[in-house]
C-alpha cells in the first residue's frame, strides 16, 4: 500500500517534470526572489543617505584593490607577527625562569627528599614535567598575543577581504576561491582548516583544499619559525634591525607556504583531480568594530588555552618517550644515539641532521615540541657537560644566544637553520590533522597523499637547497 503510494507520487513527479521542461530550478529561484523583494519593499524603510555603507565601500576599494590589496595584506601580517615576536620575549623568559629555573629544582629536591628511585624521578620530572613546562613557556606568550590580534582582525571583517584578494589566484590554479578562507583558518590550526573545507561544495575542490591546507603555517610552527629566524637570520644583522629582519624572514616562509599551496593545487587540478572550477558568491560582510575586551577574553580562553592544553597533552607523553630513548641503552649507546647516527647521513643530504629528523619522528603528535626535542637530543647526543640537566631532559636556556650556541656546537650552520625553517613548513601534518583528514575524506588513500606529499616536497626542497648552497659556498 505504502509502496504503491510512493510509486504513484514519483511517477507523477517525473511526468510533471517532463511537461515543465528544463528551467524549473531557475524559475523557482526567481519566484522566491520575487517574493523576497516584494516583502522587503513593503517593510524596509531607508532613511536619508547611507553614510556607513559609503565608508565600507571606500574601505573595500582600498583593501581589495588590485594595487594595494596585497601590500596591505603583507603589512598587516607583518605588524601582527612583529608584535608577537617583540612582545613574547619578556613573558617567555619570566615563565621559563619560574617553571624551569625555580619549580624544576624544587621538584627535584622534593623527589630526593622522599627517596624517589632515579628512574621514576627522571621519567616524571625530567621527562614529563620538563616537556610540559617547556611547551607552556615557549607557546603561551606568542599565542596569547597572536590569537587575540588575529581574532580582532577576524571580528573586524578583514578575513573575507583576504579571501577576496586571493580568490582570483585560487581560481587560476583550478581550486575553489573559498580555499582562501580555509587557508587562513589553517594559519591558526591545520585541523581546524581541514574541517572548515566543508564550506566548499564540490568534492574535487574540497579535496584539493584538504590536501594543501598543511602549507599554511600553523600556530605550532610559528614559534619554531620565529625562534630559528631570530637565532640564525636575525643574528646576521645589527641588533637594532634583528627583529625586523626576523619578521621579514618568517613572512617569507609563510608566503612560500602560500606559493606551495598554489603550486600543488595547480598540479593536483591538472592531474589526479581534474575538473571544472565552480563559481560561488563571496559576500563581503560589513566592517564591524570588534568588541575589544570580549574578543580578548574569548580568544584567550577559547583559543589560546584550548590549543595550549592540546600541546600539553601531547608534550607529556613525548617528554616521557624522549627520556626513555635517551636512557635505555643497547650495547653502550642509547636508542636515541643509535637513531641519530642512523639518520645522520640522510639528514646531511637534506642540509639537516639526524637529531632534527629524529625530533620530527618523536614529535609527530604536536609541532609545538620540535624545538625542545631538538635541543634535548642535541645535548644528549653530544654528551655536553655543564649544559642542561642530563640525558633526556628538555631544558630551557637563558637566552636565544645560548640556544644558538648549543645548536652551533651541535654542528649547525646557517644552512641548517634555513633548511629547518623550510622543513618545518614542508613536512607531514601533525597526527591530529592526519586523523581529521581521514575523518573528513573517509579515505586512506587521500589521507596518505595529504600526509606524504608535503613530506616528499620537503625532502626535495631541502635537498636542492643544500646542494646548491654547498656548491656556492664551496
Amino acid at each position: 500500500m505504502k509502496k504503491d503510494n510512493t510509486d504513484k507520487i514519483l511517477e507523477m513527479a517525473s511526468s510533471l517534470r517532463w511537461e515543465m521542461g528544463q528551467d524549473y530550478h531557475d524559475k523557482l529561484t526567481e519566484g522566491i526572489y520575487a517574493d523576497a523583494s516584494a516583502i522587503s519593499g513593503k517593510v524596509v524603510i531607508q532613511e536619508g543617505v547611507n553614510t556607513n555603507t559609503t565608508f565600507d565601500r571606500k574601505l573595500d576599494q582600498i583593501l581589495t584593490s588590485r594595487k594595494f590589496g596585497f601590500p596591505i595584506m603583507l603589512f598587516i601580517l607583518s605588524v601582527v607577527l612583529w608584535l608577537t615576536i617583540q612582545g613574547a620575549n619578556v613573558p617567555s623568559g619570566l615563565l621559563a625562569d619560574l617553571l624551569l629555573g625555580n619549580i624544576h629544582p624544587w621538584l627535584k629536591g622534593l623527589a630526593a627528599a622522599v627517596n624517589m628511585p632515579w628512574w621514576l624521578d627522571g621519567f616524571l620530572i625530567d621527562g614529563v614535567y620538563m616537556a610540559v613546562a617547556w611547551v607552556v613557556s615557549v607557546m603561551l606568550p606568542p599565542m596569547a598575543i597572536f590569537f587575540p590580534l588575529f581574532t580582532l582582525l577576524e571580528d573586524f571583517g578583514y578575513l573575507p577581504r583576504v579571501a577576496f584578494n586571493l580568490d582570483d589566484w585560487f581560481r587560476r590554479t583550478g581550486a575553489h576561491g573559498k580555499q582562501a578562507l580555509t587557508m587562513t583558518m589553517g594559519w591558526g590550526c591545520n585541523a581546524a582548516g581541514v574541517v572548515a573545507t566543508r564550506i566548499i561544495d564540490s568534492p574535487r575542490e574540497r579535496l584539493i583544499a584538504i590536501i594543501t591546507n598543511n602549507f599554511s603555517l600553523c600556530n605550532g610552527r610559528w614559534p619554531t619559525q620565529i625562534l630559528i629566524a631570530t637565532i640564525f637570520i636575525g643574528a646576521l644583522v645589527p641588533s637594532s634591525l634583528s627583529s625586523l629582519v626576523s619578521t621579514a624572514t618568517v613572512i617569507s616562509v609563510a608566503m612560500l607556504g602560500v606559493f606551495f599551496m598554489f603550486l600543488s593545487s595547480w598540479l593536483l587540478s591538472r592531474t589526479v583531480l581534474k575538473g571544472q572550477v565552480s563559481t560561488f558568491n563571496l559576500e563581503l560582510p560589513p566592517y564591524r568594530p570588534p568588541r575589544f575586551w570580549q574578543t580578548l577574553y574569548t580568544s584567550l580562553i577559547d583559543r589560546t588555552l584550548i590549543v595550549l592544553w592540546r600541546a600539553v597533552v601531547f608534550a607529556a607523553p613525548a617528554g616521557a618517550v624522549i627520556w626513555l630513548i635517551s636512557n635505555i641503552s643497547i650495547s653502550d649507546s642509547s636508542i636515541a644515539n643509535w637513531s641519530i647516527d642512523y639518520l645522520d647521513g640522510f639528514g646531511w643530504l637534506l642540509g639537516l641532521n639526524g637529531v632534527i629528523l629524529l625530533a620530527y619522528i618523536v614529535a609527530i603528535p604536536a609541532n609545538e615540541i620540535i624545538i625542545p626535542t631538538i635541543l634535548m637530543l642535541t645535548v644528549a647526543n653530544l654528551n655536553m657537560m655543564g649544559v642542561g640537566a642530563g640525558d633526556g631532559v628538555m631544558f630551557e636556556l637563558d637566552s636565544d644566544t645560548e640556544t644558538g650556541d648549543i645548536l652551533r656546537s651541535g654542528g649547525w650552520t646557517l644552512l641548517t637553520g634555513v633548511n629547518l625553517m623550510l622543513f618545518s613548513l614542508l613536512h607531514n601534518p601533525c597526527s591530529t590533522t592526519i586523523y581529521t583528514i581521514y575523518q573528513e575524506t573517509k579515505s586512506w588513500k587521500w589521507t596518505a597523499v595529504a600526509s606524504l606529499m608535503p613530506l616528499m616536497l620537503g625532502f626535495i626542497v631541502t635537498f636542492l637547497v643544500a646542494q646548491v648552497w654547498r656548491i656556492i659556498a664551496g
Partner: protein, 257 residues
C-alpha cells in the same frame, strides 16, 4: 500575534529572570529548537546568549560548519538548541547546506528560529521563505538592528510579521537586546500559544505552481500527516535525490510518528 492582557507573567522581561543557561547540558529537553540563518548574521551570538556557551564567533561567512548544541531552561521547560551552519539557501548540495536542510526536514525541530541581518533583509528573505515552506513553526529573529540603525535602515517589524505569518523579534544579540523577547516568543510558539500561518511562495509562473499544487495534493492525500507536502513536491520536481530516497524509505513517515 502575541498573547496580551495578562500582566507581568507574560512580560518577557519579567520571565527572562528565570532563564537558566544550561551550557552543553541538553538532556531530557522538552523542546528542540533549531537556529537557522544566512552566514554572518550573528547566529552564533544568539546561540551563545541563550545557552551561556562561548562558541567562537567571527565576522566571516562559513565560520560554523558543524552543528553545535546547547541548552537552556525557561519557565520549567528545557530547551535543546541546535546551531545549524549558516547557509544562503537550502537548494544546493554542499555539506553545510545539507546539514541545515536535513535537520529542519527530518529532525523536526519544535521551533525553527531564523536569524536574519536586518540591514540585508531582502537577501536574507530568500532563505526565510525556503524554511517557511518546510516548517510552520518558526520565529524570525531580526538581528543586528543596531547596525541597521547606523546604516539608516528601519524595518516595520509588525508588517513583516504579518507578511511572513510568523512572529518577528527585533534584536541586537551582541548587546543582549531582544533576547528576553526571543525566549518568550520561542516558548509561545513551542507550546502552541502562538499559531503560525507561514507565507508560501507566491510568485511562481502558472505552469510551475499548477504542477506543485497537483503533486503536493497527491502527496498530502497519500501522506496526510506530512506538514510540508508543498516543499516535498518542489524538491521532487527539482529531482532532489535525498528527498526521493526519504520518500522511498519512509523516512518522512517515521519522522511523523
Amino acid at each position: 500575534m502575541e498573547a496580551h492582557d495578562k500582566g507581568c507573567e507574560t512580560c518577557a522581561f519579567y520571565n527572562a529572570a528565570h532563564l537558566k543557561k544550561l551550557g552543553v547540558n541538553t538532556e531530557n529537553a522538552d523542546y528542540v529548537i533549531a537556529l537557522a540563518g544566512n552566514p554572518n548574521t550573528g547566529k552564533s551570538t544568539v546561540f551563545n546568549a541563550l545557552t551561556g556557551l562561548r562558541q567562537h564567533t567571527g565576522n566571516w561567512p562559513g565560520k560554523t560548519v558543524t552543528r553545535a548544541e546547547g541548552g537552556y531552561a525557561y519557565n520549567d521547560k528545557k530547551y535543546r538548541l541546535i546551531d545549524l551552519p549558516g547557509t544562503y539557501s537550502l537548494l544546493s548540495t554542499s555539506e553545510d547546506e545539507e546539514v541545515a536542510r536535513n535537520f529542519i526536514l527530518f529532525g523536526r525541530p519544535d521551533v525553527t528560529v531564523i536569524v536574519v541581518d536586518a540591514s540585508r533583509l531582502e537577501r536574507n528573505l530568500n532563505l526565510v521563505l525556503q524554511v517557511l515552506e518546510i516548517t510552520d513553526r518558526a520565529v524570525l529573529c531580526l538581528n543586528l538592528m543596531d547596525e541597521a540603525k547606523r546604516h539608516g535602515i528601519a524595518i516595520d517589524d509588525r508588517s513583516l510579521a504579518r507578511e511572513l505569518g510568523i512572529p518577528v523579534v527585533a534584536a541586537s544579540a551582541r548587546s543582549q537586546e531582544g533576547i528576553p523577547e526571543l525566549i518568550q516568543t520561542i516558548e509561545e510558539v513551542a507550546n502552541g500559544t502562538i499559531r503560525c500561518k507561514p507565507h508560501r511562495i507566491k510568485n511562481l509562473p502558472k505552469e510551475l505552481s499548477d504542477a506543485v499544487d497537483k503533486l503536493s495534493a497527491q502527496i498530502s492525500k497519500n501522506f496526510p500527516d506530512l506538514p510540508n507536502s508543498r516543499w516535498v513536491a518542489m524538491r521532487l520536481l527539482d529531482g532532489d535525490a535525498d528527498v526521493r530516497k526519504a520518500l522511498e524509505t519512509g523516512e518522512f513517515l517515521t519522522a511523523t510518528a
